[in-house]
């Protein structure tokens, strides 16, 4: 079992004819993902390595019964691509694109609230159910199938933690990179809730970072509504207040919430062990299992 994606997921790639879209589609297919269609305006009727391309997402969904999409569309057009995906009845939309304007995302977020679709991202590495399917740009080879769920705001930090797990023989049900932008679709709580409902996920790793209040809210959710144990990590303990570090999200406002201390203590209060180093996180997961 897993969350959001598995063997049966039928994927349409938006922007399949672009450089990134083409490359990562190949990677996804190589990993075993069931990519059934591409969608690029004006390119309908063509194919990319045998995958049929349609002019619109709705045509791709109708013709190929796609139930998930991955968005590899330049930032200026990414919001429109997400709106298009949300206009069909897809179960899942994964937006990889980095640099989507914040106000575009606020509008997408409103639209999302009117649908039953799960949106992951934008500015995220995507998600993977090891051995079954990956939707996004994660390096498949570091993952292994198992019983630990992982949710993270950061891409490469995810890889780091997964690597530590895999090297100890701890595999994953599904790993979800939710992205570090200020406004994202599925947040920690959304992913944790899905893991809680997944009978095969025996523990969850949650990698947060400074900025915003998502980790604090997630801690409250874990404390009140989760039976599955969670191990935590928070990046940005040494970030000075008021400095912006990479992710739009990784900015510390200086007030009470949003700091590493606030997040760590919220998690600890919810019974979540928070590791000082990625290795310590793996140690904690071993203890929880």
């Amino acid at each position: 079992m897993s969350i959001l994606v598995d063997d049966d997921t039928r994927v349409v790639v938006q922007g399949i004819t672009g450089g990134e879209g083409k490359f990562h589609t190949q990677q996804m297919v190589d990993y075993g993902t069931n990519v059934v269609a591409g969608a690029v305006p004006g390119k309908g009727g063509q194919d990319v390595d045998g995958i049929p391309v349609y002019d619109t997402v709705s045509q791709a969904v109708e013709e190929e019964e796609a139930d998930a999409s991955v968005v590899f569309v330049p930032p200026a057009f990414a919001a429109d691509a997400m709106f298009e995906a949300l206009d069909t009845d897809l179960d899942l939309v994964v937006a990889i694109t980095e640099g989507v304007p914040q106000q575009d995302m606020a509008r997408v977020y409103k639209r999302l609230s009117e649908t039953d679709t799960h949106l992951v991202g934008p500015n995220c590495p995507g998600l993977i159910t090891p051995g079954e399917a990956k939707l996004g740009i994660l390096p498949g080879n570091i993952f292994s199938s198992g019983n630990v769920g992982l949710v993270s705001r950061s891409g490469t930090l995810t890889y780091q933690v997964v690597d530590s797990l895999t090297q100890r023989g701890i595999g994953q049900t599904t790993a979800v990179g939710i992205g570090g932008d200020p406004i994202i679709g599925t947040d920690f709580i959304g992913a944790l809730d899905l893991f809680e409902q997944d009978p095969d996920t025996d523990a969850v790793v949650m990698c947060g970072e400074i900025g915003g209040e998502d980790e604090e809210e997630a801690a409250a959710f874990i404390g009140e509504q989760m039976d599955t144990p969670v191990a935590g990590f928070i990046a940005g303990r040494t970030a000075p207040p008021g400095k912006r570090m990479g992710h739009a999200g990784a900015i510390v406002s200086g007030s009470g919430t949003g700091t590493a201390e606030s997040k760590i203590s919220a998690l600890q209060d919810a019974g979540v062990p928070v590791g000082d180093t990625p290795e310590e996180v793996a140690d904690n997961v071993e203890d929880l299992l």
Partner: protein, 384 residues
């Protein structure tokens, strides 16, 4: 991107907001000329992008030419919280009886813009928010509709703005929201909005930050960005040029990595193992060799740096490209300026290891080991 006050005021004026007459000046003579144009009394305001300019001596109110010369002479060229003041805004002084705060920002927890009004203007709004949160009225706006007129009124009346100026303040808020929306702003605020003794409403300050990710659709703001960059720190200017996410810190262990979360974690580990991070530098995803070389160049340009840890976990970034870039950068030196520790993992890490010139760098297999080694080197170098 953060607009200078004079730039934001121009944007405000173009949108029809009530701003005092003002002129930019770069010399004492220009200040005097501007002051005569605008009419005494005037405020002379340092155009640098730091908070608390007033308290730090960067704003002065003057009544005549003599005072203007004196103030201009003092402010122009001064060092304000580490930034050099080379321009001032000469602005008509406002005879006010009341100061309000009006602003719009993105509430990331709600995923919606929020408009804020407070009658406790003219002071640090963060302190007001912490000490008397009820003194700030907040109205969330649905970005699909935009701000409804009633929402501007609600924010203003709920804040307790006096009724005779309430509609004028609501109109300022409406325009600010429109600018926030039109210009892809992340934050826009006026603190203070002044109420004059004639019950006029005046935007006495202007803060406007723009979403860098949306700059591509605002040619006018891009121009302002280029024109306004004068007071930037050298290293930050270089980072901008290279397109890096870079923050300079006070320690001596230089850090380069890919992905904000992983780089922050590397900083945290440097601290955890007893070192002090010199910087945050994220080369982003899919970096090619030249970009890697630029990153090393940046970090070496910081004279505080005593060692460098290079931590890459490849996803779209390929280890072989990183190795090539490191070789390229280091082979250009007769002597390596500071010791470099490299840790490569993920995509093409093995290929990278084969390419990497291990005579020039120390290689570690794990993140923890790499950081410890870099901290060790930094300590040794610092003792030299």
């Amino acid at each position: 991107m953060k607009l200078h006050e004079y730039q934001a005021k121009q944007v405000f004026a173009d949108a029809g907001l009530p701003v005092p007459d003002s002129k930019l000046a770069a010399s004492v003579d220009e200040v005097v000329e501007a002051a005569e144009n605008v009419g005494y009394p005037v405020a002379i305001k340092a155009q640098v992008q730091v908070g608390g300019r007033g308290k730090a001596g960067g704003i002065e109110l003057v009544d005549d030419e003599e005072e203007a010369r004196e103030a201009a002479d003092r402010i122009l060229g001064m060092d304000l919280k580490g930034l050099h003041v080379d321009r001032v805004l000469v602005e008509a002084a406002v005879d006010f009886v009341n100061e309000l705060y009006v602003g719009v920002t993105m509430d990331r927890n709600e995923g919606k813009p929020v408009a804020m009004v407070s009658t406790k203007g003219g002071v640090d709004i963060e302190s007001v928010a912490e000490e008397t949160p009820e003194a700030i009225s907040r109205v969330h706006v649905d970005p699909s509709f935009g701000m409804h007129p009633f929402q501007a009124r609600k924010a203003v009346y709920d804040a307790g703005v006096e009724r005779d100026v309430a509609m004028d303040v609501a109109s300022v808020l409406t325009t600010l929201y429109q600018l926030w929306d039109d210009k892809d702003s992340t934050d826009i605020e006026v603190n203070p909005v002044m109420i004059t003794s004639d019950r006029e409403v005046v935007c006495a300050d202007a803060v406007m930050n723009i979403d860098d990710d949306a700059l591509f659709r605002h040619a006018d703001l891009q121009e302002m960005e280029e024109e306004g960059d004068s007071s930037q720190d050298d290293l930050e200017a270089k980072a901008d040029e290279y397109g890096f996410d870079y923050v300079r810190l006070s320690g001596n262990t230089g850090i380069i990595g890919n992905g904000a979360g992983l780089v922050m974690t590397t900083l945290d580990l440097v601290d955890y193992y007893g070192g002090e991070p010199a910087n945050f530098l994220d080369i982003g995803g899919g970096a090619k060799a030249s970009r890697v070389a630029n990153a090393l160049d940046m970090v070496f340009s910081d004279e505080n740096v005593d060692s460098v840890v290079f931590n890459i976990f490849g996803g779209i970034t390929r280890g072989d490209e990183v190795a090539k870039g490191i070789n390229e950068a280091l082979e250009s030196f007769e002597e390596i300026p500071k010791p470099v520790v490299v840790r490569l993992a993920g995509t093409n890490a093995e290929e990278g290891m084969e390419i990497l010139n291990t005579d020039l760098v120390t290689v570690e297999k794990t993140l923890e080991d790499a950081v410890q080694r870099a901290v060790e080197y930094a300590d040794t170098e610092a003792d030299k």
